[in-house]
C-alpha cells in the first residue's frame, strides 16, 4: 500500500469516528463561538478600528481550536491503545502522521467555516470581495499550523510529556506562519490590493511546504519503533 492511500485510510477512520461521536466538532465548535464572542465584546470599539482587531481574534480562535482538536484526536488513539491497529498495519509510519493531519485539517476547516462568518458579523466587516481570499488565507495558515502541531502530538504516542512538548516546540515553530497569517488578514481587511494578498499567500504556501515536508520527515522518526 502506498503512503498516501494508507494516509487516506487513517484519515477516513478518524472522520468516521467523528461523524459518530461529534465530540471534537461540538466541543471545539462551542469553544470557537465563545472565543469569538468574548473577543468581539472585549475588543470592539467602532467600525473603523474593528478591522484591526478582528484578525487577532480570528487567529487566536483558530490557534486554540486547533490545539484542542489535534490533542483530542491523538488522545483518542492513545487512550485505549487503539493505535496498535495502525502500528501493526503494513503501512509506512509517516502515513499515520499524514492521515492524522488530514483529518485534523478537515475538522479545523469545518470549524473555521463557522468561525469566519461569525467574526465578520461581530466585527461588522463587509464580506463582499474579501471572502474568498480570506478563506484561502485561513486555509493556508491552518495547513501549516496543523501539520506542525500534529507532529508534536504524535510524540505523545511514545512519551508522557506530550503537552509540554506541544507548547514548548509548536508555538515558536508556527509563530512566523501564524504572524504572517494574522498580518495578511489585517491587510486584507484594511483593503489591500489583490497583488499584495497574493504575495502573502505565497509566503504562507512556502511555510506550508516547509512544515509539511518537515512533518513527514520527522514523523518517520517520531513514530518509529522503540
Amino acid at each position: 500500500m502506498n503512503t498516501l492511500r494508507a494516509a487516506w485510510l487513517v484519515a477516513l477512520k478518524d472522520l468516521q469516528l467523528e461523524m459518530r461521536t461529534k465530540e471534537i466538532l461540538t466541543s471545539t465548535g462551542l469553544f470557537a463561538v465563545l472565543v469569538v464572542t468574548l473577543g468581539s465584546l472585549a475588543f470592539y470599539t467602532d467600525p473603523i478600528s474593528s478591522p484591526n482587531v478582528a484578525p487577532g481574534v480570528l487567529w487566536i480562535s483558530i490557534l486554540f481550536c486547533g490545539i484542542l482538536l489535534i490533542g483530542r484526536s491523538w488522545a483518542l488513539e492513545r487512550e485505549n491503545d487503539a493505535v496498535f491497529g495502525l502500528l501493526l498495519a503494513p503501512i509506512p509510519r509517516p502515513s499515520i502522521y499524514i492521515g492524522k493531519t488530514i483529518s485534523a485539517l478537515v475538522l479545523l476547516v469545518a470549524i473555521e467555516l463557522l468561525l469566519v462568518p461569525l467574526c465578520l458579523v461581530f466585527f461588522q466587516i463587509e464580506p463582499a470581495g474579501i471572502l474568498l481570499p480570506l478563506l484561502a488565507l485561513v486555509f493556508l495558515g491552518s495547513l501549516g499550523f496543523v501539520s506542525t502541531a500534529s507532529l508534536f502530538s504524535a510524540v505523545g504516542i511514545r512519551t508522557r510529556a506530550r503537552d509540554l512538548m506541544l507548547s514548548v516546540l509548536v508555538f515558536p515553530l508556527v509563530a512566523p506562519a501564524l504572524l504572517a497569517s494574522a498580518v495578511a488578514t489585517r491587510e486584507l481587511f484594511a483593503g489591500a490590493g489583490m497583488t499584495e494578498v497574493i504575495g502573502w499567500m505565497r509566503i504562507l504556501l512556502a511555510f506550508d511546504l516547509l512544515f509539511v515536508g518537515f512533518g513527514v520527515w520527522v514523523s518517520r522518526h517520531l513514530l518509529a519503533e522503540t
Binding site: 500500500m1 501493526l88 503494513p90
Partner: protein, 247 residues
Amino acid sequence: MKPPVLRCRHVTKRYGKFTALKDLSLEVYEGEIFALLGPNGAGKSTLIHCITGLAKRSEGSIEVLGFDTVNDFRTTRRLVGLVPQEIGYDPFFTPLESLMIQMGLMGVEPNRSRAESLLETFALGDKRDAYTRTLSGGMKRRLLVAKALVHDPRLLFLDEPTSGVDVELRRELWQEVEDLRTAGTTIVLTTHYIEEAEKLADRIGILHKGELLLVESRESLLERHGGRPLEDIYLELIRKADGRHAA
C-alpha cells in the same frame, strides 16, 4: 522438516542500557503451535514486538517466510497477526466496523461477509453493532483475536491471551487456537498457564531474562523428565538459571 515460518538469528534487543533479549535464535515451523513460556519480564512480549514491528531489534535478523521484518515490513506484516497482551480497541466503533477498518489498514479489501463470519466464530455475532466500549473484557479480547485474523495471517502471535480471562472463555479460546492450527495457521503463544501450554503446544521454548533456556518438543521434554508435570520442569529450570545469575 518443513522450512521455518519464523527464523530469528542472534537477535539482541536493548532498551537504552537494559538488554531485554540476548543473542536469541529460534525457528518456528509451519503448522505448529509454539508456546513461549517465561516469568514476567523475561522478554516474551519484546520478542513478539520485534517480529511484528512494534519494536525494533538492536542486532541480529528476523525473517518471516524468508522476508526480513524490517526491510520487507510490508510483506511480513501481511503474513503475521498479533493479539497484543494489552487490550486495545476503538471505543466508538462497533466490532463489525473495527474489523472492516482493520481489513482496509491491512491492505485487504474490506469484506462484510468475512467480517461477519469472523464475529460468528468468536461468538460476537449478536454484538456486532454494539459500541466496542460496551463489550465485556472477554468479548474485547475475542474481538482482538478476530481483528488479528482479518488478513488471514500465516503466523499468529497470541501474547498472553488468557490472562484475566475466565475458565470457560479460556477453554473456548484454546479450542479456537486448535481450529486455527488445523486450518493451517502457525501459532506462537505466550501464557502464564503452563498446564495449558502442556496440553496445547507442539514445541515449547522457555525464556528467562532475555535468554532462551530451552527449546524442545513437548513430547521429548516430558519424556526426558520421566513424565513429570511441565510446571515442575519449568520451575526447576528457572530456579537453576536464577541461581546461575546470582552466582
